[in-house]
């Protein structure tokens, strides 16, 4: 350590000046990278894939109706057909079934969903809910009611 210190002390003035110039340049580059990363991080956190404003729940009932609910807006939808009734709720960017008049209440037990490709299915009422991204087709292969990365789920 002391050796290094001595060496730099012995450097001629012109060399020291150049070194300082390089330091300034390197410093600026590092600062630039840090600022850019920060900007990307901010951009990602506000416009990334978890942004609920781009997501929608589509509720399909047994009468072949399809209802669209943006996940960014809290809402309650009563879906009633001859098969039965389900209460679909959008809350804090998630969609779930809060009430149903079927016997097993599977749809309620399936909990809350909020990612593209996820589904809630009420078998007795032939009602189902899917989450899709705005501007994307819901029937895409990788969104085959499966978590991303899987084409199909064996259960």
């Amino acid at each position: 350590m002391s050796k290094k210190k001595n060496k730099s002390k012995e450097q001629p003035a012109a060399e020291q000046k150049t070194a300082r110039g390089i330091n300034v340049i390197v410093g600026s580059i590092i600062a630039g990278i840090v600022l850019l990363s920060l900007a990307f991080w901010v951009a990602n956190s506000s416009f990334g894939e978890d942004d609920v404003s781009t997501l929608r729940a589509i509720v399909h009932d047994s009468d072949n109706n399809a209802y669209e609910l943006p996940l960014g807006e809290d809402a309650t939808l009563e879906v009633s057909t001859e098969a039965g009734s389900n209460t679909v709720v959008v809350e804090n960017g998630e969609v779930y079934v809060s009430q149903a008049d079927c016997e097993n209440l599977d749809c309620i037990h399936q909990g809350r969903i909020s990612s593209p490709g996820q589904q809630i299915i009420c078998l007795p009422h032939k009602m189902w809910i899917e989450v899709v991204e705005a501007g994307q087709a819901s029937g895409q292969m990788d969104a085959d009611a499966t978590p991303s990365g899987y084409d199909s789920i064996s259960r």
Partner: protein, 378 residues
């Protein structure tokens, strides 16, 4: 609306059980538009469903659909068609790179099987056999075929797999959670015996008039194989067929790469979490799990895989068994059979069968697979 559109829409209304009517109608009409534009039926496959984002929170009317049709015609070629149906007491999802006509054929085929294999649907082949009071019943060729295949498994498994479990299974109600009286189970048990089934030509007979068929352990596999064949014969080389979790990955992805099939986590059935995956092509992946169709009364958990010897849910140390094989009929029967064998017996069975890969999870949460199996654990 153009009168032709009305006719087409009406035609499509023949399938009320369909879960994605909007996609279907629009893609179908888009297909017609494409065909007209290109002047060739062969281009139908290049048209695919898309979904625009509108009408927040309100029902989408046919007028909405009509307005969106023009944009559909310009859809890209790399999107598959997808159909979701409520049949076989489960949810069926067909995803295929094919033309609309072929997809419609596959959907009609599902309805065809629903009308023949259902135990509860009055007038189905199985219903007719079960209500024939011991006389022979003329049935469809597919019904004869699936029963013959099932009987092979009944014999091979020494009755652990038994399609005459219907006498007992009709007493249980796993939807509403009803445990039958023990007396009822005991009086039904003697009528569970696959040797009472006889097949001659196109007729099937139950010698025991109180016996009843239940094809639940094999029908989905048989139908998956049939649908795969139908799609292939129609020229489709890329599709996934999912019959309530009974998967057939047909061919490869359009780019020639393998499909990636996930295995449901039996301990988190309500979610879409997986315990393993299999990269495969032209392969059936069937999973049986204790988590499906279960209910709990007074702390006792009842699951839907019944033991033909006791009439009660099978006592097993397995919670989930998966089989990957070329034939989904085999995979379906094996997955049920494996459950009744338990952990060690299940692994031994698969090891002794060529061309089958297995993955099981036991009650302790331990996951095991057969030697050489290519499942990748999460």
């Amino acid at each position: 609306m153009h009168p032709t559109d009305n006719t087409l829409a009406n035609l499509l209304d023949l399938f009320p059980a369909r879960r994605s009517p909007r996609l279907t109608r629009r893609s179908f009409l888009a297909g017609i538009a494409c065909a007209c534009a290109a002047g060739a039926v062969g281009t139908l496959g290049a048209c695919s469903p898309t979904r625009s984002q509108d009408a927040s929170g309100s029902a989408l009317t046919s007028a909405d659909q009509a307005n969106e049709r023009s944009s559909d015609a310009a859809a890209t070629s790399q999107e598959p068609l997808r159909e979701t149906l409520f049949v076989f007491d489960t949810v069926v999802t067909l995803t295929a790179y094919c033309d609309e006509a072929l997809m419609r054929k596959a959907c009609e085929r599902c309805q065809y099987f629903e009308e023949r294999f259902s135990r509860t649907r009055e007038g189905s082949d199985v219903w007719n056999i079960n209500h024939a009071s011991g006389t022979a019943v003329e049935v469809a060729a597919e019904t004869v075929d699936v029963i013959k295949r099932a009987l092979e498994y009944c014999e091979r498994s020494g009755g652990l797999f038994d399609i005459t479990i219907g006498a007992v299974s009709q007493l249980w109600d796993f939807k509403t959670g009803i445990v039958p009286d023990d007396a009822a189970i005991q009086s039904a048990l003697p009528h569970v015996d696959w040797r009472t089934v006889s097949v001659e030509g196109s007729s099937v007979k139950l010698a025991d008039s109180q016996a009843a068929l239940d094809l639940g352990g094999i029908a989905k596999g048989y139908i998956a194989d049939d649908l795969a064949r139908l799609l292939e014969e129609g020229g489709c080389t890329s599709a996934t067929i999912n019959l309530g979790g009974n998967v057939f990955a047909l061919g490869t992805k359009p780019d020639g790469s393998n499909w990636n099939v996930g295995i449901q986590d039996p301990n988190a059935p309500a979610t879409t979490s997986v315990i393993a995956s299999l990269s495969c092509r032209q392969t059936s992946v069937v999973t049986s799990g204790l988590y499906e169709r279960t209910f709990t009364i007074d702390g006792v958990r009842y699951h839907h895989i019944l033991d033909p010897k006791t009439g009660y849910p099978a006592v097993t140390d397995l919670v989930s068994s998966s089989v990957a094989s070329a034939s989904s009929t085999d995979g379906d029967a094996y997955a049920t059979w494996m459950f009744l064998l338990g952990r060690d017996g299940a692994l031994a069975l698969l090891e002794s069968t060529e061309g089958m890969q297995g993955l099981i999870e036991d009650a302790q949460g331990e996951i095991a697979m057969t030697s050489g199996a290519q499942f990748v654990l999460r």
